[in-house]
């Protein structure tokens, strides 16, 4: 049962990712990416990462993808020349490179004989355990991310506002 659910989610995920990469219209790419994010959240649930799944939906499928769609709408239709890079050599090299990456990583994982994990503890991946790790051992990096987000907000406003009158 679990394997069937995983297979279905994985197949949909790969199809969605291919649509993101191969669809000529960037709006469809973005919508497919929303689907990919939602499917990843479902996969996180199957991995007992419930809080991460909620964040995946809120942060990625919510905030980041809205930002992407907003920019796509702001920019409008791209110019002429087609959505894909030209040149058979580039396509062949890109396809070969990506296939080699997938096969290489896949065989590396397949050879490393990961044992099936035993049934997880009930509290694994809950908000309580995650928050305890976040606010004790990882407190300093957690606080530093707030600085990072502040810098990102200021930087985004400065960059998108246009060049200052010099």
């Amino acid at each position: 049962m679990a394997l069937a659910v995983f297979g279905l989610l994985a197949a949909l995920l790969l199809v969605g990712a291919l649509v993101v990469v191969l669809h000529p219209d960037s709006v469809y790419s973005a919508l497919a990416l929303v689907g990919v994010m939602a499917l990843l959240a479902a996969l996180f649930v199957t991995l007992d990462a419930h809080l991460i799944a909620a964040f995946q939906v809120i942060v990625y499928a919510g905030a980041i993808m809205v930002l992407f769609l907003f920019v796509i709408m702001l920019i409008g239709r791209p110019g002429s020349g087609g959505p894909f890079a030209r040149g058979k050599l580039l396509w062949a090299a890109s396809g070969l490179g990506a296939a080699a990456l997938a096969v290489g990583l896949g065989t590396m994982v397949a050879r490393s004989a990961l044992p099936t994990p035993d049934a997880g503890r009930a509290e694994f991946g809950t908000t309580t355990t995650l928050a305890r790790a976040l606010f004790t051992t990882c407190l300093l990096p957690f606080e530093l991310t707030s600085v990072l987000l502040l810098i990102a907000v200021v930087g985004a406003v400065v960059l998108a506002k246009g060049r200052p009158r010099a």
Binding site: V71, P83, L114
Partner: protein, 100 residues
């Protein structure tokens, strides 16, 4: 229970698709989306290994990756808007001023 290896192989396939997107697309926004795809593939591997090891550390790391990805998306899209305002093209090969 699904073995961890399946999840990691899925993450590897997702990462390869994202890398392919970076290589073959011309629209910088779609290239950026392919980068997000690769980040998500890594997150999937992190969560899979967190369950494998029975440790919360991998999930904490995913939270930080998500935060950095959100910051990166905001700044990256602002840069894209600024570039398009100046050069009036969303295509990477027409914004090749910094290329040797």
């Amino acid at each position: 229970m699904v073995p961890t290896g399946y999840y990691v192989i899925l993450a590897a396939a997702l990462f390869a698709i994202g890398a392919l997107g970076v290589l073959i697309r011309r629209n910088v926004i779609v290239i950026f989306m392919a980068i997000e795809l690769m980040l998500n593939a890594v997150n999937l591997a992190f969560v899979a290994f967190a369950r494998q090891l029975g440790s919360t550390d991998g999930q904490v790391f995913v939270l930080f990756v998500m935060t950095v990805a959100a910051a990166e998306a905001a700044v990256g899209l602002a840069i894209i808007i600024a570039v398009i305002r100046n050069r009036e093209s969303v295509f990477a090969d027409q914004n090749a001023l910094l290329r040797w």
